[in-house]
């Protein structure tokens, strides 16, 4: 692939393609994902507020769809993992994360927009830090600092193993969890979009500039592109789901010692 551009004049997609400043430049330039993020947030807020304006006990089609998403986060993830008695304060948090991630991920394959916002590490980091703050605050509030630290070491461990496990668990608790949370989402969206770019641009190049044998290959390339687009829908949903699932698991750990 690295040899390709030199020989055929094809420029493969690179991370630089994700840098798309629209207004200004530098650290505080207004970039394309920022605009996507603002627009999607506004759209989500608008839809949610309008859709919940007239809720009825017997749902309409639109309300039914909204309740489906809400129920997935509230019941299938939140209630089943955190527990019915504890989940209420976290529903809004989980629901906001899920809708924001899902809609922004789907923006990667939405025509015209075609930019998965979370392929820019800044956005997943925001969510990961938020989750990190929430579960640490919940831990400290519920178990106290001592209880939280004690909780890191599972009971019944050989005395010699305690310091090692403690350090590892503390590292996991404070660094690895938010880091993997952010990187997982970022990596999935970044790599997925890179793949789409590669097949779209590569197919286009082969069709238009590749000459006889290559322009025939362009057809399966586009087929793969369509397949990957469909796959990307699945990934979009899956990543949003995994993000709230892990968040719920981290929060559920706060109350794990209760029973």
């Amino acid at each position: 692939m690295i040899a390709l551009p030199a020989s055929a004049g094809f420029t493969p997609p690179s991370p630089a393609d994700f840098w798309q400043p629209l207004i200004g430049d530098g650290a505080f330039a207004v970039t394309r994902p920022m605009v996507v993020m603002v627009l999607t947030t506004a759209a989500i807020c608008l839809v949610l507020v309008l859709a919940t304006k007239k809720l009825s006990l017997v749902p309409s089609r639109g309300q039914w769809a909204l309740e489906g998403v809400y129920g997935l986060v509230r019941n299938s993830v939140g209630r089943d993992i955190i527990g019915a008695a504890r989940v209420r304060p976290y529903i809004g948090f989980l629901f906001a994360i899920f809708t924001l991630v899902l809609v922004n991920n789907l923006m990667g394959i939405t025509p015209v927009v075609q930019y998965p916002t979370f392929s820019r590490i800044g956005f997943p980091i925001v969510l990961a830090i938020a989750v990190w703050l929430v579960y640490i605050a919940a831990h400290v509030r519920h178990n106290g600092v001592g209880g939280t630290l004690k909780h890191l070491v599972p009971p019944g461990l050989p005395f010699a193993a305690v310091p090692v496990v403690f350090v590892l668990e503390l590292l996991t608790f404070l660094v690895i969890r938010p880091l993997t949370l952010a990187l997982r989402l970022f990596g999935n969206m970044f790599a997925g979009h890179m793949l789409l770019l590669l097949f779209a641009l590569g197919g286009e190049y082969m069709l238009l500039h590749g000459g006889f044998p290559l322009n025939v290959v362009a057809l399966p390339t586009f087929l793969i592109y369509f397949f990957l687009t469909a796959f990307e829908i699945l990934i979009s949903f899956l990543q949003a789901y995994v993000f709230v699932l892990l968040t719920s698991l981290y929060i559920a750990e706060v109350y794990a010692g209760d029973h």
């Binding site: 430049d25 920022m34 947030t41 507020v49 906001a96 956005f123």
Partner: protein, 210 residues
């Protein structure tokens, strides 16, 4: 400024993709905060209120259904009790009717037998009366005939009406004092007496009295 910007453009364009862009961090934070605010302020309370109402409605519906079922069971029980009552009542009425019928039959039989008795009695009485009437008329006729016969035999002496009447009276008194058997006997024997004993009713009656 310009060269710095140019340098920065170069930096962000070629920067590691894992290096967060400060502007995007900021916008991401703001957007997430706004969404959180909307979710906690409006969306979740509305949805939770609706879900609570729905659960209440479903529970209310179930309670209502349970109540209705209990009511239906109570009604069924009542109907069963009523049916049992009605059956007992019917049996009682049937029993009553049967005994009543038996009573009526007995009464009718009593009445019929008394009626029969009465009829028999009245028939007997009538027969007796008729017999008495026959005896009386026979006696009168017999008296007349006997007197006539005696008058013929004795002659004109007895034609005097006062005497004749006295003789007949006496004869009849004698007859009345005798028993019915005697009367009957006399009735049957008067004829021969009158014919066989032309001596006179007085002698015939006198010899029969003892």
């Amino acid at each position: 400024m310009t060269p710095v910007l140019a340098a920065e453009e170069g930096f962000w364009a070629t920067a590691y993709p894992v290096l967060p862009h400060p502007g995007e961090l900021l916008i991401g934070t703001i957007c997430f905060a706004v969404l959180l605010f909307v979710a906690y302020r409006t969306v979740v309370p509305r949805l939770e209120t609706m879900l609570a109402q729905r659960q209440a409605a479903i529970q209310g519906g179930m309670e209502k259904a349970e109540k209705a079922q209990a009511e239906a069971e109570a009604a069924l029980e009542e109907y069963r009790a009523q049916l049992a009552d009605a059956r007992a009542e019917a049996a009682r009425i049937r029993e009553e009717a049967r005994s009543e019928g038996a009573k009526i039959i007995a009464e009718m039989r009593d009445r019929a037998s008394s009626e029969a008795e009465r009829i028999t009695e009245s028939a007997g009485r009538q027969v007796e009366a008729e017999r008495l009437a026959a005896v009386t008329s026979l006696r009168t006729e017999l008296g007349g005939l006997a007197t006539q016969l005696a008058g013929r035999i004795v002659g004109e002496a007895l034609t005097d009406s006062a005497r004749q009447s006295r003789i007949v009276e006496r004869f009849l008194t004698e007859l009345e004092q005798s028993s019915p058997e005697d009367v009957r006997a006399s009735a049957t024997t008067v004829e021969p007496t009158t014919s066989a004993a032309p001596a006179g009713p007085s002698s015939g009656g006198a010899h029969r009295v003892p």
